[in-house]
Amino acid sequence: MTKKKILIIEDDKFLLKLYGDKLRRAGFEVAESVTGEEALNKISVDMPDLIILDLILPKKSGFEILTEFKLNPKTKNIPVIILTNLGQESDIKRGLEMGAVDYLVKTDFSMNKLPQLIKEKLIKR
């Protein structure tokens, strides 16, 4: 069975390693980007099945990147999970209204639940 591809957009190297390793161990193929531009370049070559997106990023914010994904016919149907430390109700509402399939706050979320959550989102797709 082909491995599902997950693209992680996260600018903190420790979190990127943590998420990447966790998902590889769970049997996913993982691509990593630290900026939105880099992510868009990667997507143009190899389309992921799901994207994990941080919001506070260099150059373009996660919200700007999500807008671009949703406007692009090639990427608009890829499920995006926001994984951030912005936990304000207004941010959560904005992220979900923009089309993210889930919104997780890093400090409150258990890493151990991430692989299962991704599997559930991929089944619903």
């Binding site: 420790f14 979190l15 966790k22 430390n85 109700e89 890093k106 400090t107």
Partner: protein, 231 residues
Amino acid sequence: MESKHKLSEVISIVSHQFKTPLSAIKGYLEVLLNQDLGKINLKQKEYLEDAMENTVRMIALVKDLLDVSQIEQGKLDFKVNLSDLEKIIKGVIKDFSSFFKAKNCEVLFKALNKIPLINIDSLKIEQVIYNLISNAIRYSGTKGKVEITLEKKEGNVCFCCKDNGIGVPKEDKKKIFTKFYRSEKAITFSTGGSGLGLFISKAIIKKSKGRIWFKSKENEGSIFCFSLPIN
């Protein structure tokens, strides 16, 4: 006033900066405790759990600081919806079950009459309930007894949390809702608190158009209550 506002902004920025490394530390500890990278022995597990407990404490402190800065900037974010207060209380008690078992503390809850659904920010009110129950357990010592009641009374819903703990000394009663204030007795008794929980709780209840109060007798116990309007 302006410098106070700027200080709050600085606290807000610094707290956000703390969240990323704390998330990473918590995540790495979870991976190790989950034995993803191999088996750990009992002593290693105990040490990792201690590290996790302290990381979670640090995260809670950072969140409290963020709340304080938002309160002081008048930016406390509220999302009001029709909520079941009884269900929220039961959920918080469930979350605390291992904590009060470890402290050998008995926690009882009773709704004294039928409680209607009310329009509140459920997460914020849950935070207040969490703070009050946490204080009651923390300052009760071993073999403590915490009695929680919920009652519909004259157009309000009233929550009370009574303990048989160390109580609040007379000289501290006026300062207890002040930011960062912890009485000498509380500091001697427990190292866990930050002195922010009651300050935040008061701000949340005030913004919810409710009232918060307490009665206490040193060495006998305290009762902390809040009421929220039904409409």
